[in-house]
Symmetry: C2
Subunit: 250 residues, 2 copies
């Protein structure tokens, strides 16, 4: 029996944003592997086994999935958004790289999904419509000084930003420290968006400015978008403004 490993991006949450390709891969799997809140999004199937793990054990989870695929199972490793964007895909290939030589012979398919940052940008208009970057604020796996350096150069060079992992229970000061660094470079009126649980029932989207941005708006399910000096607001009567990145830079 030959196993297979799917690495699937489930999209931001709404089932209508799960691609048919991802749904088809989920239907083929004998085993689902992932963080609990993601695994429960998959439709229940008779005989399919769910392996739920803590969100921090990425490499262990990846190895477990690879062992099962090597034993002939059809395993789906699940991430929210796109699995290649601060999701499980890197962990799986790192586990292969450092693991059993036989794992290099496995069939592995990464199934791309709708990224949470683009769902967030779409909610407010076209926030990431020109050059942009994505930065994880977590310093679990890189030095905090490097996070700050990347924020600094991205702001100076005019990239809009999507900030992942903005909220850390262990280091709640980090997001405000990031805003402080950005305030040294970007205008006070630079638009900032806190996008929480986009496309889910408890979605919250809050548009503010860099001057007013405050970390208490973010929780573990929040993405923070930071604009540039070029980012524009389109005011609307009685509604939140649209926010977009102009296509041209003078």
């Amino acid at each position: 029996m030959s196993g297979k490993l799917f690495i699937i991006g489930l999209g931001p949450g709404d089932a209508a944003m799960l691609t048919p390709q991802a749904a088809n891969a989920l239907a083929q799997a004998t085993d689902l592997v992932g963080y609990g809140p993601y695994v429960v999004r998959a439709p229940e199937r008779v005989g399919q086994i769910r392996h739920i793990s803590d969100n921090r054990e990425e490499l262990d989870r990846a190895r477990h999935a690879l062992e099962m695929a090597a034993a002939g199972r059809v395993v789906a490793v699940l991430s929210a958004g796109d699995a290649g964007v601060f999701g499980m895909a890197s962990a799986v290939f790192e586990a292969i790289d450092k693991g059993e030589p036989a794992w290099r012979g496995l069939e592995v398919e990464v199934v791309a999904g709708v990224s949470a940052m683009f769902a967030a940008a779409a909610r407010v208009g076209a926030f990431l419509g020109h050059d942009f970057c994505a930065i994880s604020l977590s310093d679990n796996l890189k030095p905090w000084a490097l996070v700050l350096q990347r924020l600094r150069v991205a702001a100076e060079a005019g990239f809009a930003m999507a900030l992942y992992n903005p909220h850390s229970g262990a280091r709640p000061w980090q997001l405000n420290a990031a805003f402080e660094v950005l305030r040294e470079i970007l205008p006070p009126a630079t638009p900032v968006v806190f996008a929480t649980a986009v496309s889910r029932a408890d979605e919250r989207v809050y548009i503010t400015t860099l001057a007013e941005a405050e970390s208490s708006r973010a929780d573990m399910r929040t993405l923070v978008l930071v604009g540039t000096a070029e980012t524009k607001l389109v005011e609307r009567p009685g509604r939140e403004p649209w926010v977009y990145a102009p296509r041209s830079v003078a």
Copy 2:
């Protein structure tokens, strides 16, 4: 009659990567607006009108769509990938910003899609699995000096990159000039991927190094991914290697 404007990301090409949400929006539209090769991807529907335009007339196309929505039509503006990533979303909001005040009262919904850069990254493994940026090489709407500056700072700061619009018929020297700048900063062995028409019948994915990268590999449907000094290859027996961004940076 009240009109509506959808701005829809169709995904990279494979119909199995079109979300149910996007399919539903396409089904509601009375009018489809977009560049020909994108519009023909929508399923044919009796009574639905297709307005096909040249790829360069983004702002004219946006205004036309807005006029129809203001007249009560349900209009879908189509982009490949995600419409918010160098797609039509920015053009539509710019047209609103500079256009008729009444357009600010319109119902506008941006329907996020699977981005071509994540489909490309997924094909080779987890190329964009850590901090990354997206840069358009087109100098139609920004100075070429700014393009080069952004390439330089992104490479120096350790961002992986997705390069959009790498091929210009008018300025075929640009992509090689970009590689020259990157070679001054990144190691010769830095992985580079030319991903053309990903998920379509004529998909071509070519993995090389920055030292060997050559613009003739790119055409108008190509995305170029450039790694960092940290990007790793996982060699496989008899097959192309996987390429991934490690989750940790020392």
